[in-house]
Symmetry: C2
Subunit: 388 residues, 2 copies
C-alpha cells in the first residue's frame, strides 16, 4: 500500500430480500419534498413504482417526478431535473432504476444549485464542488455500475457528442442510502444482465491492470473477479438463481465503491474508448466494454507482462508449466475472450451499430489514459479496427 | 449473498506516510475538551506523544490524559476514563496506540454517560445502546484488531476473570477518523508484530470457516489471506520493509471492518477460547490464537470438510491430485501450522504462562460458539490439552 490515501464512504447499504423494509426509515430522515427519478416503464410494470409511491405517501412526502432517463443519461435531462429540484425545493432525490438513473440523480444533485453551466464546470473542466449538494437515495433495479455506493456520474452531452464521467468527492456525492434487492434485477432482460456482468468485470480489470507493487487491493480485486466468474456462469444458465444474482449484485458494489482501488494507480482506457463508442452508437455499456477489451489487452499486455501473467494464473488458473510469460499472458486473455463468448455477448463493433466511418471519430475523441501504456489516437484506431 | 444485511461504516481513514497531516483538520471538527488515551511509554520514546500534544495545542484544545492502558485493557481503566470524560466534559476521545487502546477508548465512549453499571449492561448482557456516545478518533501504532474501523471493544474484568468482547452498532461506535501510518508500527517488537499478524489471520479464518453457500465475502477473505501471507513473509525477514508493513496494516483493517463478513455466518470459537486464556495468563492475543488454532481446526475440520478443502487449495495452493478430501484438508491445516512456525510464534500453551490447572477453568469459562460445530466444555478441554 505504497500510495497514501483517504477513504470515507458513508453510504448505508440495505441488501437482500427484505431491504425495502428500510425505505420508510430512510425517507423519514429528510424533508417533505422528493424528486423521484426513474427510467421508462419497467418499474411500473414490475409494481415497484406503486410500492415506492405508497411509501412516499405513508411518509407524507410531496413528490415531483422525472421519468424517462435513458441507459446513457443525457445532459438535457440533468438540466430538467435541476430545474425541478429548484422549483420544488427538493430535500431528497430518490433514484429508482439502474446505474444510469443513479448517475443522473447524482448529476442533478450537484447541478441544481450550481451557478453557471454545470457541464462545463464539473464534467469538462473537472472543477471543484462549489455549491450545496442535494442528498440522493437509490433503489437499484439493475446492477453493474456501483453508482449506488460511489460518487461517479457519467453523462452524455448529445449536442457535443461527448460522454464524460466525473468522479466527485466520495463522501459528499455518494448516495446517503441504497436499497439493493437482488430480486429487483430478475426482470432485466438477459442481454442487459450480461452487459452488467461485463461492466463489473471491466471495472475490476481497469483497477487491476496497473502498478508493479505488492498491493492488498490487487488480491481483493482477484477475489472479486473469481466470485463474479462463478456467479456469472450460474446466472447465465439460470437467471432466477437468487444466490448467483445476489453475488453478482454485491460483486458490482464492491467492484467500484473504491475500497478495492485504494493505493492503486489504475487504467480506465477501455472505459474511455467505450464512452465515445456509446456517444456514437448508444450501445449497451457492458457490451461495448467487452468488444473493446480483447483487442485492447492484446495490444497492451506486453507493457505490463508480469500482471497479465498473474491475471492468467490467479484468475483463470492457467498452468504455467513449460510456457513462456508471453504464452501464459495470452492464454489468460484468451480465457477472458472465451468467458465473453460463454456469456453470449456480441464480439464485434459492427454488431452493436458502429459503422466504419465512426471509428476515426471515436478514436480521436476518446480520452487517452492507461495503466501500463497510454495509447495514442492511431493505436486506439487500430484497436477499434480489430474490434470492428 | 443469501443473508440480508445493512452495512454502514462511516470511519474516515487516512492511510500512509502523510496520514498525520490530517490530524489537525480532524481535531478542528470537535469541541475544546479532549481525553487523550494511550498506553505506556512507547509513544513518548518514539516522539509521537510530543507530535500529538503539539497538534492539540495548535488547535487550542484542553487535554486530559489517561495513560497506562494494557494490552488487555481492564474494566477499572474504562471506569477511570468514563469519570474523566464526565469531569472534563470531553468532546472527543483521542486514542493513540494499538487495538487495546482503541478498544478501551470505545468502551469509555459508551460508558461515560451510561446509567448503572456499563459492564453488566453492555458486556455481560449485551444490552442496547441507551445513552449518548462520545466520539472517538484514533492514531494507530500497532496493527491487528481493526479496532480503528469497527465497533468492537474487548475488555477484561479482572475481578470476575472475564474477558468479553462486545460489538456495538457499527455506525454509532466505530471511530470517526483513524490515522494509519505504517511507519508508526515499525517500533513494535517482532514478537508483537507476529502476534498482530496472526490476530489478523485469525479474524479472517473466524469469518471464513462457516457456511455452505457460494458467497462473495469468502472470495474476498481468501484474497485478504493471500495478501497477508505474502506480506508477512517479507516483514518477518525485514521488519522495516514499508510495502510489507503497510500491506499488513491494510489487511488488518479490511480483515475486520466487517465488509468482508457481509452475508456470512461466522465461527469465532478460537477467539472465545483465547479470550479466557488471556484472562488467565495475559499472553499476547495473537500468540494465544495461533496456539489454539491448530488443535481447534484439527478437531472441527470434518464438520466443514468442503470449506477446509477449499482453504487448502485456494489459500495454500495444495494440489488435490490423487488425494482424498480429508488429506487435502489436513494438508491445508499443516500449511497453516508451518506458517505459524515460520513466523517464529511459540506453539504450546506452556510457553505463554498457562499451567495445567488453568485448562479446565479456561475450558469451562470460554463462551461456546462455532461455525461448523459448537464444541462443549469437554471438547474445548481436549483442544487445550492438545495445545498444552
Amino acid at each position: 500500500m505504497n500510495i497514501d490515501f483517504t477513504y470515507h464512504n458513508p453510504t448505508r447499504i440495505h441488501f437482500g430480500r427484505t431491504a425495502m423494509n428500510h425505505l420508510e426509515e430512510e425517507l423519514n430522515l429528510y424533508g417533505r419534498n422528493i424528486l423521484f427519478v426513474y427510467g421508462k416503464n419497467s418499474i411500473k410494470k414490475s409494481g415497484l413504482y406503486d410500492t415506492v409511491m405508497k411509501a412516499l405517501a405513508a411518509c407524507g412526502k410531496r413528490v415531483t417526478e422525472l421519468s424517462g432517463i435513458n441507459s446513457n443519461p443525457r445532459y438535457t435531462q440533468v438540466l430538467e431535473g435541476a430545474r425541478l429540484v429548484r422549483e420544488s425545493h427538493s430535500d431528497l432525490i430518490l433514484a429508482v432504476g439502474g446505474g444510469s438513473v443513479v448517475d443522473c440523480a447524482k448529476a442533478i444533485s450537484v447541478s441544481a444549485w450550481c451557478d453557471g453551466d454545470p457541464w462545463e464546470r464539473y464534467w469538462e473542466k473537472g472543477g471543484k464542488l462549489a455549491n450545496p449538494v442535494v442528498p440522493v437515495g437509490s433503489i437499484l433495479t439493475m446492477t453493474g455500475t456501483a453508482s449506488e455506493m460511489n460518487s461517479g456520474s457519467v453523462i452524455t452531452h448529445e449536442e457535443k457528442k461527448l460522454k464524460l464521467g466525473r468522479v466527485f468527492p466520495l463522501a459528499e456525492v455518494t448516495p446517503k442510502f441504497s436499497i439493493l434487492n437482488p430480486e429487483f434485477t430478475f426482470s432485466v432482460p438477459k442481454y442487459q444482465m450480461v452487459s452488467g456482468i461485463f461492466d463489473i468485470f471491466s471495472h475490476l480489470m481497469e483497477q487491476y491492470f496497473s502498478g508493479d507493487d505488492d498491493c492488498v487491493s490487487d488480491y481483493l480485486l482477484e477475489g472479486d473477479m473469481l466470485a463474479l466468474i462463478s456467479a456469472a456462469r450460474k446466472a447465465v444458465k439460470d437467471p432466477s438463481d437468487y444466490e448467483a444474482r445476489s453475488n453478482i449484485m454485491w460483486c458490482a458494489t464492491m467492484g467500484l465503491n473504491k475500497i478495492l482501488a485504494l493505493s492503486k494507480t489504475q487504467d480506465w482506457e477501455v472505459h474511455m474508448i467505450e464512452h465515445q463508442l456509446g456517444a456514437y452508437t448508444d450501445c449497451a455499456h457492458g457490451i461495448g466494454l467487452a468488444i473493446v477489451s480483447i483487442p485492447y489487452y492484446r495490444h497492451i499486455y506486453k507493457y505490463g507482462l508480469h500482471r497479465f501473467v498473474r491475471f492468467a494464473q490467479n484468475v483463470w488458473k492457467v498452468r504455467p508449466e513449460g510456457k513462456s510469460d508471453e504464452q501464459i499472458a495470452l492464454e489468460g486473455i484468451q480465457c477472458l475472450s472465451d468467458f465473453i463468448a460463454e456469456m453470449g455477448i456480441p464480439q464485434r463493433l459492427r454488431d452493436v451499430g458502429a459503422t466504419e466511418e465512426m471509428l476515426p471519430l471515436i478514436a480521436e475523441s476518446a480520452i487517452k489514459c492507461g495503466g501500463y501504456h497510454v495509447p495514442d489516437t492511431a493505436e486506439v484506431l487500430d484497436i477499434l479496427k480489430e474490434a470492428y
